[in-house]
């Protein structure tokens, strides 16, 4: 019974998330009870105007932010109310982030950037023992995104597309279950963006990677299995999605 339940259980779900920010004295509501559910291996795109709260929803799901009201459930366990250390652990093990502006660390080479999540995971001693393993993992991930000729380069020496590929490699090196992508093509030209989308689709298909992607571009969003539309902090067309 439990087995079958687990099978139908979504990998991650954010339920009835409400989140407001303060701008000075004014409370600005961003999310007003938005919710999203992703099954294992699903590729979901969240689409909305800027300011509709789609990035915030992603941050709340990825435990970078905590909701005012609502729950984030991973594999049937509520995770948004965990204490800080456990949240840090989950971010490192379960989630992988990619951002519109790539956010690679400028002081580190591509290889070091990709190794960072594993360095964070292991203590100094643990890293030293597994350094070869970690290095190989990072190399193969870089190879997968097609950047093995750029290992020693600093982010500033890479093109936008290369940086985003590097960021994807970094997000995936720790073998996360869920990839959270915040406008991954937002800063790239159409051709490069298409390349990135192709890479994400391939990863989704080959590795059954669960992807939640936020975008404002309809054509990009259309490449996902399913699109969720966010308007003013609420999900639109849920009924339609469910029917489909």
């Amino acid at each position: 019974m439990a087995e079958t339940l687990k099978m139908t259980q979504p990998l991650i779900s954010a339920e009835a998330i409400t989140k407001s920010y303060f701008k000075g004295q004014h409370k600005v509501p961003v999310l007003r009870g938005a919710g999203i559910t992703a099954q294992r291996g699903e590729f979901i795109s969240v689409i909305g105007q800027s300011g509709s709260g789609k990035s915030t929803l992603l941050h709340v799901m990825g435990l970078l932010d905590s909701p005012d009201v609502g729950e984030v459930i991973l594999d049937g366990t509520r995770i948004d109310n965990l204490h800080q250390a456990a949240r840090d652990q989950l971010r490192n093990h379960v989630f992988g982030f990619i951002f519109q502006f790539y956010h690679l660390l400028p002081e580190l080479s591509l290889l070091e950037n990709v190794m960072t999540p594993l360095m964070i995971r292991h203590s100094f001693l643990g890293f030293w023992k597994k350094r070869r393993e970690i290095r190989d993992a990072a190399m193969s991930m870089i190879d997968e995104v097609g950047l093995s000729h750029r290992l020693r380069h600093r982010p500033s020496e890479l093109s936008g597309g290369e940086m985003q590929r590097g960021a994807i490699a970094r997000a995936l090196v720790a073998r996360p279950e869920i990839l959270l992508a915040d406008e991954p093509t937002g800063n790239l030209d159409a051709a490069t963006g298409a390349g990135i989308m192709e890479l994400l689709n391939r990863l989704n298909q080959e590795q059954r990677l669960t992807i939640v992607m936020v975008t404002h571009d309809e054509s990009i969003a259309a490449q996902a299995h399913r699109t969720v539309r966010l308007v003013e902090g609420r999900i639109q067309g849920v009924a339609w999605e469910d029917a489909a």
Partner: protein, 574 residues
Amino acid sequence: MYKLLLCVRYLRTRYIALACIISVMLGVATMIVVNSVMAGFTTEMRDRLHNFLADIVIESRGTEGIQDADRQMALVERAAGKYIAAMTPTIEIPGMMTFSDPYSGQTYTVPVQMQGIDPVGKARVGPLQDYLDSYNPTLDDGVVLKPALRSPEEPLGWNLTAEGAEHRRLVQERQKLFLQDQPRPPVGNPAPESDASDDTAPPTMDSMEPVFDSEAAPESPDAAATAADSGNNVETHIDEGNANENSQQSPKPDAATESPGQESAVAEIPGDAFLLDTPAPTAQQSAEPLPARVYIGEGLISFLVRDPETDKQQKVMMVQPGDDVILSTVTAGRPPEVTKFQATVVDSFRSGMSEYDSSIVLMNLEALQKYRGMERGNWITSIHIRLKDYADAPAVLAALEREFEPGTVTIRTWEEKQGLLLSAVEVETAILNVLLFLIIAVAGFGILAIFYMIVVEKTRDIGILKSLGASSSGVMSIFLSYGLGLGIVGSTAGVVIGLLFVRYINEIEDALSWVTGRKVFDEKIYYFFEIPTYVNPWMVFSVASGAIAIAVLASILPARRAARLHPVRALRFE
């Protein structure tokens, strides 16, 4: 691991961090240099003070002294014998020294501190032999001009060196020849004031006895007995000599000879009539040195002349070993009376403490006892004691306090005797240290400001790290270890530079002198050939670790700020 990597990367790529490192480095280097030089001066000064003072000094309350040196020393031995390495009886008394300067022809009288010593005993409580000029080669800028006159094996004593004896003989022969060549001045020639006539008018006394004031030593009849002319003071001796030449004392316009009182006679001594004659009578008497022998502090009888050609400072000695000087002091009687006597200079010394070198005259203890009327009963004024281990000083002091009747003597360590000077130096060092540490504190605030800048600059990186799962404490430790790294690098560089500076301080001083064209450190002023330095490893360690601690402390605030950054806001930071 990422902490270390990022910390090292930030250190290597932020040039602004270099500013922090340099400020820490300069602070540390300055503190090490100043402390080493101060410690060098202090140690050197303490050594020199200490060497002349022995470890513990027992002094009589008054100048009349305490009786029976041997019994007092036996008391000391009984009280604290097991701690004591050596002791020596001493008489310390202020006095005046009169000598003539052959260069200017002037006669000078200067205040001195006379110490009657037994040189062998004195050498056991302090390094006397090293100070005596005859045991040291004459140096000029480190080049030996003249080897030492005495071999180091030669025991200390009151004998003249061969050179001193030769000088004495030559002076006397010259005097003799001079006298033979000179026509006898006409009787009644009333010009004894002029130097020339004084030199030409030596007494023809044939007394082999030394001249000294026997009357001034009422407690020493022996001394009086040995005096050739009992009842005559020095002046009358010499005046007799003049009188022999001039047939009568009366033609001399000087009032000295006419005043029967000793006091007035003394008052006349600076008059040229007396002193410039002094080599003459001794020359007449004997080539043998007088029974009173002295080592004179170099500062008393020398002066510095700048050679106009080489522009080098040269030391000119006004009195050579073999010459005679006149010493006057007071007797041990109550009330004390003035006593004066001639003494042969055996040697000069240089302890390096200018205070001592320009005031102390060391003299043979027996002669001083005799002239001060202290030899019957073997009176002395102080006992200098050297301990086996100076750490025992408090115990020895306590034991001696119990042994000696209260009120008879003062017992002090050399540090207590020089307490004011030493504590002044200590306070000076402490204040200097506080001020210098403020320099490092300023560097600390520089680190604080620069770190805040770096945290702001790295805000987005902090957000990235947190999104990758880095904990707040991990982020904090990046910046703390960054501060630690800055501190360690800065301190290490500072220690290296500071130690190198100290090591080559004299070369640096030479270079600075050469660049600025004037002497930065004039060794003649400080009595040091080189700038003395003493590197205390603990001092270096505490300065370096203090600087590191300040760097870490200064990075705590920025590190906390970095750790508390909200990841989303940090990511959005532009």
